[in-house]
């Protein structure tokens, strides 16, 4: 019970943190940001690996294996594609404010 309560506490604080983290991101970063957070939830791969490692029957092994493949795609592809996108945003040489006067 105590364990569950603590998990709940972690969940709530982390949710607030998530909300706060994304405050007013510039428009042009929406896609990379979506893509990067998408890669982060690829952490589910951890769960899939544990399933395979602790599986005792063929069905679970099969399901787990598919899950591992899918999870790995999510992680690797997600970070990779984000990196490619962000490579397009070359650092501006002189970041002068747009308005002249």
């Amino acid at each position: 019970m105590q364990e569950l309560l603590v998990q709940l506490a972690v969940f709530i604080i982390a949710a607030f943190l998530g909300f706060e983290l994304i405050s007013r991101v510039p428009n042009m970063l929406h896609t990379p940001l979506m893509s990067a957070t998408n890669a982060i939830h690829g952490i589910v791969l951890v769960g899939a690996i544990i399933v395979v490692a602790t599986a005792n029957d063929a069905f679970t092994i099969a399901v787990g294996f598919i899950a591992v493949v899918l999870g790995a795609m999510n992680v690797v592809g997600g970070f990779w594609v984000t990196n490619r996108m962000l490579g397009m945003f070359r650092p501006p040489k002189t970041r002068v404010k747009k308005r002249k006067g």
């Binding site: 998530g18 983290l21 791969l45 951890v46 679970t60 399901v63 591992v68 490579g87 650092p91």
Partner: protein, 473 residues
């Protein structure tokens, strides 16, 4: 060992947070992504540490699976063209949702979801994960134009959705009550496990039905929402597996994804509720086409060149999706240089949703070498049009379409703020035909023969010709 793993997970979570923080600014975004990826590596390494098995077969399976998925992911990510990014993200999100649904399924199969917490969190994971999987695949198909393009509607859609949702609830209750519900109503063959399979199928169907009525223009928002869903599913499975890496990372993605979705929908001027619950009420435009030929002011590159040279001093260039298709960013840069060497003032007006992904135009233009300082946002450029002599619109339509302001007609772009090019003295379109853009809404500006010049050609060729014409005029 357990302690080391926990600490590693914590470090990974911190790196995720730091990474997301850095993703908020263009200057630091790329390093943010790298940091988050590094966190992921740590979390995975720590997981290998706790695997308590000596069976090589298990290691082979895991290694093989990771390798297979990783290679497929990397290759697709490397190959996809820039314009295909949104559907790529959709696909990766979908597989993540599928992965987490399968993990939860196997927990039930192995009889591990014993406590009520584990059972309810597990059911939630299966439902959300499947919806996210199926929805993302539909979104992918739409954007890739494989299937379901446009807004797919059928009669009684809402009723069907509601019924399926009810079914999902009942099946969940049955699983939760260990089959007691099915027995009570006299269908004992509906064992918990069979209920689970049906639940999975029903959730997938729900995901499909959720996304098909939504038009392609709203897909980026839907993908972002499904991304938040997958994060939430990961968090729920963190409860089941008592795994803090999943719990924290999933929650972060779920929460930040929710906010991001809201921000995106407000940037595109499309309230989330409208997107989800209405779809787009059958895209008009395309079909409505009154076959009557309407007159346009069809001009040559020379006409454009001499107008620019002789009568225009302040010129605004508005790029759109066609620029990306024609890969015409370098010719555009040259036109800018030529005009500036003639002493003209040249600005760029960048609409937030020009192109097919947020930031699309910024990416292309900075790639071509246009300085940041010349790229003006929607709010910054609109006041400038009043004193502008010529607006050159290259491969864009929706973002300058005054039909968005027409309150009488309900079109897919109604209410979207647009670049108010009609305030300038002259409007010059460079595109291949009169065909409308992504949203399929005809543009009344095309037919304003006094103000508008239409240069019908490919963007790259057109820009090159105009540059020549300016030089020679």
């Amino acid at each position: 060992m357990q302690v080391a793993t926990f600490l590693a997970y914590l470090v990974a979570a911190v790196l995720f947070v730091v990474g997301i923080r850095r993703l908020r600014k263009p200057e630091t975004a790329r390093s943010g992504n790298t940091i988050a990826a590094f966190g992921m590596l740590i979390a995975l390494a720590a997981t290998f540490l706790v695997i308590d098995t000596n069976a090589t077969s298990v290691w082979l399976l895991i290694g093989g699976g990771v390798l297979l998925g990783g290679v497929v992911g990397a290759v697709s990510a490397q190959r996809v063209p820039m314009t295909g990014m949104p559907q790529m993200v959709a696909a990766f999100n979908g597989v993540g949702g599928g992965c987490i649904a399968l993990v939860a399924l196997s927990e039930f199969y192995q009889g591990r979801a014993e406590t009520w917490v584990a059972a309810s969190a597990g059911l939630l994971t299966i439902i959300i994960g499947s919806v996210s999987f199926a929805g993302s695949i539909v979104a992918f198909s739409k954007l890739q134009e494989i299937a379901f393009t446009g807004s797919v509607a059928f009669p009684l859609q809402q009723v069907v959705n509601a019924l399926i949702f009810l079914g999902v609830l009942l099946l969940s209750a049955n699983v939760f009550l260990d089959g007691a519900l099915a027995e009570a109503v006299g269908i004992p063959f509906l064992s918990p496990l069979i209920s689970l399979y049906i639940l999975l199928a029903a959730s997938l169907l729900l995901g499909v039905l959720f996304v098909i009525p939504i038009g392609g223009a709203d897909m980026p928002i839907v993908i972002s929402l499904l991304n938040a869903f997958t994060g939430l599913a990961a968090a729920a499975s963190g409860f089941v597996l008592e795994n803090y890496a999943l719990l924290i990372a999933g929650t972060l993605v779920g929460a930040s994804g929710t906010i991001l979705t809201r921000q995106m929908s407000s940037a595109l001027g499309r309230p989330l509720g409208k997107i989800i619950f209405a779809g787009i009420a059958a895209t008009g435009g395309k079909q409505e086409e009154d076959d009557e030929e309407r007159e346009v002011n069809d001009v040559s590159a020379e006409d454009v060149g001499s107008y620019l040279k002789e009568e225009a001093n302040k010129i605004v260039i508005v790029p759109g999706y066609g620029l990306a298709v024609a890969q015409a960013q370098s010719p555009m840069y040259e036109l800018m240089e030529t005009l500036e060497s003639d002493g003209k003032e040249v600005l760029f007006g960048i609409h937030p949703v020009a192109g097919r992904m947020p930031g699309h135009m910024n990416v292309l233009l900075t790639e071509a070498g246009v300085p940041y300082a010349k790229l003006y946002d929607l709010e910054d450029i609109n006041p400038e049009f009043e004193e502008t002599d010529a607006v050159i619109i290259v491969g864009a339509n929706d973002v300058v379409n005054p039909a968005a302001n027409d309150e009488e007609k309900d079109s897919p772009i109604s209410g979207m703020p647009i670049l108010e090019v009609e305030n300038a003295k002259r409007v010059i379109f460079i595109k291949r035909s009169l065909s409308p853009g992504f949203a399929g809404v005809d543009n009344p500006l095309f037919y304003d023969t006094d103000k508008t010049m239409m240069l019908f050609t490919d963007a790259k060729q057109g820009l090159q010709e105009v540059t020549e014409a300016v030089k020679n005029a």
